[in-house]
Amino acid sequence: MGPSGCGKTTVLSLIAGLIAPSSGQVLIAGEPVEGHHDKVGYMLQRDHLFEWRTIEENILLGLQVKRICNRQTRQKALDLLNKYGLGEFKTYHPHQLSGGMRQKVALIRTLAVDPEILLLDEPFSSLDYQTRLVLSGEIVDIIRREKKTAVLVTHDLAEAISMADRVLVLSPRPASIKAEVRIELGDENTTPLMKRKDPVIQKYFDYLWKELSVHAEQT
């Protein structure tokens, strides 16, 4: 989390190797990032499904770009689609799906290329509140079941606390890490919605709010 314009998206782009750092290094599991690499999957704010492709063709996009689209990888992508309840829509075109479903398709498109780390850049910001709550639960579930590490950028405090195991707060530009909080709410089966109802969430909320507000006053 961090104030707008502090460089959250830039951090993700650096991790993904889309831009090169002007100084310093990005290390993933001890290995430096140099340009594009296959370890991360990047999910953008909006789904950007290609309207001229069907849902099935959309989730195969990454595989086709990387030229690894064969029987197995294709079947794996379709299995993901079935597993998360979108199998019957595979012949549909994106405009026939709701915003939440489209964002889920975008996640499956990202997962289809089997990245080790998922980068999520405010993936719920274009959705209405209700859809956000439902989808954030589903996405946490998918990330857990697929055993992925995820880096989520958000400026919704409750979203950060209910979805994450660790929250890092960035300061305004030039950003540095100002605070780090481990979230200990329930166990790994606790859904974000259950966490939101936990009274302890208030403690984290107040602490993070204070950290963010301090910086807001400075600007």
Partner: protein, 273 residues
């Protein structure tokens, strides 16, 4: 329109049925008015010429036009002239579209080339291409090649500019998404830019059909020995206004046919979008 939208059996309620009937009545009214205007003009024109309100030698008349078309048809001349013009149009259109899209791709590919050539494109676009007529005639000869070149010149610049705008309108974030998968520039072109620009390609083609017609007729005015443009110029020079009017009528009919073909293509391609 499919049958179930019919006023009788498609309505969900009495109000809905009334509403649908009203829309249908409105549509019929507009169609009748359209046909009415055409009939009224033709009838007035014919009567006016018959009663010598206007001089049919200068203004021609519907019956004279039909007679002229009949003569042209029975002598086989009509087919030759229409054939020549349509051939030139198809050639100019095909070359203009392919060349235009090709150049647009080149400009998209290299921002440096795009920025360098931008002022030239602007000048070429605003230059009346007919001014190049003499140059074309000297360079490629006073034949069909000159006519096709003229048609090509008129359509190609517009194609380049509107295609390039179409390419640039494809969202940057779609390209960013592709880059997160490590896409090459060729993949961006093939998988995003071209399929994403199909609507622009179709609207460009629509404009191009018209542009090519202008180019071909202008070209025929300048150099030709056959074709509808030639018939119009020839008719004017020898004061055969019947011939001029007949040629213009045939030209309009072919233009409508061509428009229908393009509209049909557009419908086919936009069906599953």
């Amino acid at each position: 329109m499919p049958n179930r939208h019919n006023a009788k059996n498609g309505a969900v309620s009495e109000e809905h049925a009334r509403f649908l009937r009203q829309i249908k009545r409105e549509n019929i009214k507009v169609t009748l008015l359209r046909v009415g205007i055409l009939v009224a003009v033709l009838v007035l024109w014919e009567i006016g010429a018959e009663l010598r309100w206007i001089d049919p030698f200068i203004m021609s008349s519907p019956s004279r036009i039909i007679r002229t078309i009949g003569t042209l048809m029975s002598s086989g001349e009509l087919l030759t002239h229409v054939g020549v013009t349509v051939w030139e149009t198809v050639m100019g259109f095909t070359l203009g579209t392919i060349l235009g899209i090709g150049i647009a791709i080149l400009l998209w590919w290299s921002p440096t080339v795009q920025r360098t050539l931008d002022p030239y494109l602007v000048v070429l676009n605003s230059l009346p291409k007919i001014a190049l007529g003499p140059v074309i005639i000297v360079w490629v000869g006073a034949g069909q090649a000159a006519i096709i070149t003229m048609a090509l010149l008129i359509s190609v610049i517009v194609t380049v500019m509107s295609m390039l705008t179409g390419f640039m309108e494809v969202s940057d974030e779609k390209l960013l998404l592709m880059r997160t998968f490590g896409a090459t520039k060729l993949q961006l072109l093939r998988m995003v830019i071209l399929p994403g620009s199909v609507p622009s390609i179709i609207s460009t083609i629509k404009i191009n059909v018209g542009m090519t017609w202008v180019g071909v007729i202008v070209g025929e005015y300048l150099v030709s020995k056959a074709g509808l443009g030639y018939l119009i110029v020839y008719g004017g020079q020898v004061f055969k206004l019947d011939l001029v009017m007949a040629s213009i009528l045939i030209l309009s009919v072919i233009a409508v046919l061509m428009y229908l073909v393009v509209a049909w293509v557009e419908k086919r391609y936009s069906r599953n979008r």
